[in-house]
């Protein structure tokens, strides 16, 4: 630095040294924060294969996806018709059954079994459980009712049951995640 430009060498060294130490100190926060994120083994369990051949119309199963319940439901024609009969604009989270299922397979409803309110497991997947006022799922924790397309119809939950990313690898096999 040229003499007479008003910057003292000592000031420059002080600011540079403290800045370098400060940036280094902030950089040490990265591992301290990052260690709390899901570890490799947790992330490794993030894909699930499910054989759906044994699920009859009107039945549902509870599978496990990322340590959380996953509902796979084979809708009856009546349930499909009931879902299609609803005016989409009247819904809290407007979606059609077609948008929530795969093309040509609208009878297969694959959703997380995690209430979008506070994460309880809704009832309605197993035989004899309360399916709520709309014939889909009912969350016992705070009384959210979902319809046959897994859409929120009544209660505190803000959105429809989440449809995870999945594909049909064959007609009877899906891969989730």
């Amino acid at each position: 630095m040229a003499p007479g430009d008003g910057v003292r060498r000592r000031d420059f060294i002080e600011i540079a040294a403290v800045s370098a130490a400060g940036i280094g100190g902030l950089a040490t926060l990265v591992p301290l924060i990052s260690q709390m994120a899901p570890s490799r083994d947790v992330l490794a369990g993030s894909t699930t294969e499910i054989d759906v051949s044994a699920i009859e119309p009107g039945m549902a199963i509870k599978a496990v996806f990322r340590k959380q319940p996953l509902f796979v439901r084979n809708l009856t024609p009546q349930e499909v018709a009931a879902a299609d009969a609803v005016a989409v604009s009247s819904l809290r989270d407007p979606q059609t059954l077609e948008e929530r299922t795969k093309e040509g397979k609208t009878n297969w409803l694959v959703t997380m079994g995690v209430c979008t309110h506070l994460g309880c497991v809704p009832l309605g997947a197993a035989e004899g459980e309360n399916k709520g006022e709309f014939g889909g799922y009912f969350c016992p924790c705070h009384g959210s009712h979902y319809d046959t397309a897994g859409r929120i119809r009544k209660g505190p939950a803000p959105t429809n049951l989440l449809v995870p990313e999945y594909t049909f690898t064959t007609d009877t096999q899906i891969v989730v995640g």
Binding site: A37, P38, V64, R66, K67, C120, C141, P156
Partner: protein
């Protein structure tokens, strides 16, 4: 700081004099909770709960450290290690029940301590800082209690963790990544259990630090008292020891009788049977509720069922946090110069309504999520906020307080004649 007439610390024994020169710890104790700390002579039993809360903190730390010697914070064995404490460890059942019921006792004492503050205006100047630190301690206490309840890894533990961390998921944009980061996974599992254990062990010591600040801030103006009239002369005070060490000792004995009744005869009365079922991520218990001490806030959380600009879920979360954060603003919401509810006829009526409202919220938080409880929660929640944000400021503007006594001495003895009192040295 203390009053000028505070008894000075004068160690007689050579060892104590030596210690006073090198490390004046006995002096600190003498001036803080000994004969060197003058307190108002009219403190009622409502002033016992600070000491009792301190006792509960020590009780929880001692029993907690012992439980940690036998407990294993791993999702595969946590439930079994808790049962191992209950069945195999010598006196393990007693220590665990002492810790679990100790948490409940702690909250009973803290709630009474807080409501003492509400009624007697303990939050008013010059003690705002004491109050603010107290609210911080309460928040730390809630976090500690929540994480402790997760550790046995039963059904209620697991689903409590899921629901409460789900609250963070309500935050727009960052909510879900934040929730996954907090849990170290997509749902509560080993990572979450381990960090909860780590923090559950740490936070009590943070609370100890906050309590030291709380007491430090208190000892600058000195304790308030039931009249709310500040100390004027020596005749208004008595030394903390032996007068209030004795009174607190009696209070502690009564507390221990009630606590031991719970501990030995009703150890599971405040718990949930579902927590003796190992955690199952695939099935939610039919009636999921937090521990009783969170019920008012849980009722507020559930009171919001309609989307209004923001989603209902976010409103619930915001309201729940706001219901405690509003306490931080209490010194500035209630501007009445009269401190004690004894001399505030209008305030006193609404205080009773607030207590009833809180009682309702307690009851509603434990009730099922269905009508008519939801509607009642909404009314009780609305009144709760109305009390702090509207009623309290209005009362402090329009109320005509009753005449205050001239001094604490007059309130106690009916006259402020110095001759009538204990003073052995002339009041300065």
């Amino acid at each position: 700081m203390s009053f000028p007439w505070a008894k000075p610390y004068e160690p007689k024994a050579p060892l104590m004099r030596y210690l006073d020169e090198k490390l004046p710890l006995p002096r600190l104790v003498f001036n803080a909770i000994g004969a060197g700390y003058p307190v108002p002579r009219n403190l009622s039993y409502m002033w016992n709960f600070g000491v009792l809360a301190g006792f509960c903190l020590v009780l929880q730390i001692v029993t907690g450290i012992i439980l940690a010697m036998h407990y294993a914070p791993n999702a595969a064995v946590a439930f079994n290690s808790t049962e191992h404490i209950m069945r195999d460890v010598n006196w393990g059942w007693m220590l665990r029940y002492a810790h679990a019921n100790g948490a409940s006792a702690f909250f009973v004492v803290i709630y009474l301590h807080i409501f003492r503050g509400f009624f007697y205006g303990s939050y008013k100047p010059p003690r705002e800082m004491v109050w603010l630190l107290g609210v911080v301690i309460f928040l730390l206490l809630m976090a500690t209690a929540f994480m402790g309840y997760v550790l046995p890894w039963g059904q209620m533990s697991f689903w409590g963790a899921k629901v409460i961390t789900g609250l963070f998921g309500a935050i727009p944009l960052v909510g879900e990544p934040l929730q996954i980061w907090l849990l170290g996974g997509f749902a509560p599992d080993n990572a979450a259990l381990n960090r909860f254990f780590s923090l559950h062990y740490l936070l009590p010591f943070v609370i100890v630090g906050a309590v030291i600040l709380h007491i430090w801030a208190l000892h600058i103006p000195g304790s308030s008292n039931p009249t709310g009239v500040e100390v004027k002369t020596e005749s208004d005070t008595v030394p903390f020891h032996p007068y209030f060490t004795a009174k607190d000792g009696f209070g502690l004995a009564v507390f221990l009788l009630l606590y031991c009744t719970m501990l030995f005869f009703l150890p599971n009365a405040l718990g949930h049977p579902d927590n003796y079922i190992p955690a199952n991520p695939m099935a939610t218990p039919a009636h999921i509720v937090p521990e009783w001490y969170f019920w008012p806030f849980y009722a507020i959380l559930r009171a919001f069922t309609v989307d209004f600009i923001l989603p209902a879920k976010l409103w619930g979360v915001l309201a729940m946090f706001a219901s405690i954060l509003v306490w931080f603003f209490l010194p500035w919401l209630d501007k009445s110069p009269v401190r004690s509810g004894h001399y505030r006829p209008l305030f006193r009526k609404f205080f009773v309504v607030l207590v009833i409202d809180m009682g309702f919220l307690f009851w509603l938080g434990g009730a099922a999520a269905e009508e008519p409880y939801v509607m009642m929660s909404q009314i009780a929640t609305a009144y709760y906020f109305l009390h702090f944000l509207v009623i309290l400021p209005i009362i402090s503007m329009i109320e005509r307080p009753d005449p205050l006594p001239f001094s604490i001495t007059e309130a106690v003895l009916g006259s402020d004649d110095d001759k009538a009192v204990l003073a052995t040295t002339p009041a300065s």
